[in-house]
């Protein structure tokens, strides 16, 4: 085995280990609470290669909006779907898309991209 073959094998091995650790290992993301004003609350989710934050927390009983800020230009994240609410919004039509979330009961609403590859949730506490 030549030096360059050996080098290639080591690099490939290192990359495989890195991919496994980076993508499949545990990396918890912090949930974010919505900003409160007296009569309403709003949370902003940036859409770029995923949802950040992917979990937002809302307070029960205060009218709430989740705003999706679109920074991604690929088809992958073009739609956001709230299955439980029957909402399927096209995010590419405007820079910020507002989704109203009912907060009358404690509940978790899951959302995902149109193909179900990216997930996030809105928790009403």
């Amino acid at each position: 085995m030549s030096v360059e073959h050996l080098l290639a094998a080591v690099v490939v091995l290192a990359l495989i280990v890195f991919i496994g650790w980076w993508f499949l290992g545990k990396h918890e993301q912090q949930a974010q609470s919505a900003k409160q004003t007296a009569q309403k609350q709003a949370a902003i989710i940036k859409v770029h290669g995923g949802y950040s934050p992917s979990t937002v927390v809302l307070k029960q009983g205060v009218p709430a909006e989740v705003k999706f800020e679109m920074h991604d230009q690929t088809a992958c994240l073009s739609h956001v779907v709230f299955e439980q609410l029957g909402i399927d919004e096209d995010l590419t039509k405007q820079a910020v898309t507002t989704v109203k979330i009912p907060t009358n009961e404690k509940k978790t609403f899951n959302f995902a991209c149109g193909m179900g590859m990216f997930h996030g949730k809105v928790v009403v506490k």
Binding site: A9, G49, T74, E83, D88
Partner: protein, 639 residues
């Protein structure tokens, strides 16, 4: 820089790809012009800047979130080939710019086409809601005024001339007409309407002028509710999809690892050149893009639900589809579902005028079909109906009320005090029941004063609907609160072998449970008393004339009361689910076959995929999955 749309980016990329395509096509003939690698470098660089960059940026953002997706695959494959080619052109070895450019082109093509098609699939709901009339002639300040539909309130009086759309849901006050309700019910024959009848917003008034009292507006109209139900159904997941979701999370990293292994095996173990090994690795990444997988379910769901709604079948969510496939039995509520639900009074034993007057008075406020038949008969014979007080429903038995301080009751055999059983009355009732009639007893206090016998006829399409269901390999059963004999008469007319009769409303659930021991069971019903059974059944089907509660506890709602909707609904649900499975199968197969070919497993026999061919195959797979979903609109139903 102004943001380009997907379409604009695709066309620009195509234009800049032309020199590269030319080079690819002429290479086999050995045509080569000097400096062609510099042309390739220039046009590919432009393509990378215009079209590949959004994928890079999205993939990088995803990477920082520890996520990998299809954009990651596109980004890795294009960066590897582009920067390798850049290095190659500077050091004077063979470049592969066309791979980077064409992968981008075909990925964009796939995105562009599937976006356009899913927009089309999504149109169904919008189209439905756009059918609502925009204006209405409303009675305000002593005259009819043309007002926007938003200003119409509950209780308003609106006028609908012949040839106009009914603007909102309401009840006819004056006028007779025929209304084309095909939009909501799928039935093409216009329905005759007279004062007191319900009309539905957005249906077409064909022949006469009517005045309508508005009962529902805005979000509460039938049309708006159908739209809402469809939206929920279309965004719902089929259970099979959660498997896809689980796979998706580890799919991309696994593909990246696989590509690295492909490279290492070719380069280190099999002694291929660095370039060849790299191309194998990149092909693996490109062919593996799971777009087709992601599109397979949502597009089929969307198109299928849209088609169902247009033919009067509202399927509430994706889960129902899978259950419909597993169904083995279907049970029908008898009265009002299998039969017309408007039985007629055929026999009366006792003092005719008194018995009819008393029975009509007691049942005046009852909506039960037998009660309606009594009232209809009394009205026909012009009998004055006395006033009744303190009327109460005795669940599963009948109704009781006071007339002039005396307690009267009307109901079935369970109403009788033990002493009254086996009298001549009950013998006569037996004889009537033997003819398949339903018998009601009329009691004054605890004494029987009369017998009423009714007969209900099957709905016109009942026989055909049941035959269609049997052809779909379903066993048909009937559940009813009526006596065995009344039920048996209908059952023999319709050829139903399994009859569960004498079922109290509260026991319908138990009857469904019993059936479920022999296999997955659907229940078809319409009344309030059917709601628990509809919820208990694996698939609950509410008929269009049904009450709100029946509709909310069911899985499938038929907007018409035509029984042929039932076999149609099940056939449609099964069809959509099979199409989802077919779509997923094709999407998986593409990857399953494509990955080994791309990895060079069959290189010995000359079967190989260059990165650009892999990209074309990948784009084609997305498009074929979406096409297959759209074909659901046109495929024939096997009934």
């Amino acid at each position: 820089m102004k943001k380009l749309t997907m379409g604009q980016r695709f066309w620009l990329t195509l234009i800049f790809s032309l020199p590269l395509i030319w080079q690819m096509l002429t290479m086999p003939f050995g045509w080569h012009y000097s400096g062609q690698e510099w042309v390739a470098l220039a046009s590919t660089t432009i393509i990378m800047l215009i079209s590949a960059r959004p994928y890079w940026s999205s993939a990088w953002a995803a990477f920082k979130l520890h996520k990998a997706n299809m954009n990651t695959l596109v980004a890795v494959s294009t960066t590897v080939t582009y920067f390798y080619s850049l290095f190659a052109v500077l050091t004077g070895i063979a470049e592969y710019f066309e791979s980077a450019a064409l992968v981008t082109l075909f990925v964009l093509l796939g995105d562009y086409l599937s976006e356009r098609m899913s927009n089309r699939a999504n149109d169904a709901v919008k189209k439905l809601l756009s059918l609502q009339a925009a204006m209405a002639e409303v009675w305000r300040d002593g005259k009819y005024q043309n007002l926007p539909i938003e200003q119409v309130r509950q209780g308003d009086r609106v006028r609908v001339p012949a040839g106009a759309k009914v603007p909102v849901d309401g009840k006819i006050l004056t006028g007779e007409t025929e209304i084309d309700e095909s939009l909501v019910t799928g039935e093409s024959v216009p329905v005759a309407k007279q004062p007191g009848d319900q009309v539905i917003g957005a249906t077409m008034n064909t022949t006469g002028l009517i005045e309508v009292e508005v009962t529902q507006t805005g979000q509460d109209t039938t049309l708006a509710q159908i739209g809402e139900m469809m939206r929920k159904a279309q965004t719902s997941h089929a259970p099979i999809e959660s498997l896809v979701d689980r796979i998706a999370g580890i799919f991309v990293p696994a593909v990246l690892i696989l590509a690295l292994l492909t490279f290492a095996i070719w380069f280190v173990l099999l002694g291929a050149s660095f370039t060849q090994a790299m191309l194998f690795g990149v092909s693996v990444i490109v062919i593996a893009c799971p777009c087709a997988l992601g599109l397979a379910t949502p597009t089929a769901l969307m198109v299928g639900m849209g088609r169902s709604a247009r033919s009067g079948v509202l399927i509430k969510n994706g889960e129902v589809l899978e259950k419909a496939v597993e169904l083995q039995q279907i049970a029908f509520d008898k009265t009002g579902t299998l039969t017309k639900g408007q039985p007629e009074l055929t026999d009366l034993i006792g003092e005719r005028k008194t018995v009819l007057a008393v029975a009509a008075a007691v049942e005046q406020k009852v909506t039960h079909p037998l009660a309606q038949a009594v009232i209809t008969a009394a009205q026909k014979e012009k009998i004055a109906i006395p006033a009744a007080e303190h009327s109460q429903v005795l669940a599963g038995k009948g109704t009781a009320a006071e007339i002039d301080g005396q307690l009267y009751s009307v109901g079935n055999r369970r109403l009788l005090p033990t002493a009254a059983v086996n009298s001549t009355w009950t013998q006569q009732a037996e004889e009537l029941a033997a003819e398949g009639k339903t018998v009601s007893y009329v009691l004054q206090g605890k004494k029987i004063i009369g017998l009423l016998a009714f007969k209900d006829l099957p709905k016109k399409n009942a026989k055909r609907a049941l035959a269609d269901l049997r052809r779909q390999d379903l066993r048909v059963a009937m559940i009813t609160g009526d006596s065995h004999r009344a039920a048996a008469s209908i059952a023999s007319q319709l050829g139903i072998k399994q009859v569960i009769a004498d079922v109290l409303p509260a026991k319908k659930v138990a009857a469904v449970k019993t059936l479920q021991q022999h296999g997955s069971t659907a229940f078809v019903g319409d009344g309030i008393n059917d709601a628990p059974a509809l919820a208990q059944a694996d698939v609950g089907i509410a008929m269009g004339s049904g009450t709100d509660i029946a509709i909310s506890s069911s899985d499938i709602v038929l907007t018409s009361s035509d029984l042929l909707g039932v076999p149609k609904a099940i056939a449609l649900a099964r069809k959509i689910f099979r199409r989802i499975k077919l779509n997923l199968f094709w999407a998986f197969i593409y990857n399953l076959i494509g990955i080994p070919i791309a990895a060079g497993l069959f290189a010995k026999v000359g079967l190989m995929l260059s990165p650009e061919l892999a990209a074309l195959a990948m784009a084609f797979s997305s498009v074929s999955v979406v096409t297959s979903a759209l074909l659901l609109n046109y495929s024939k139903l096997r009934l």
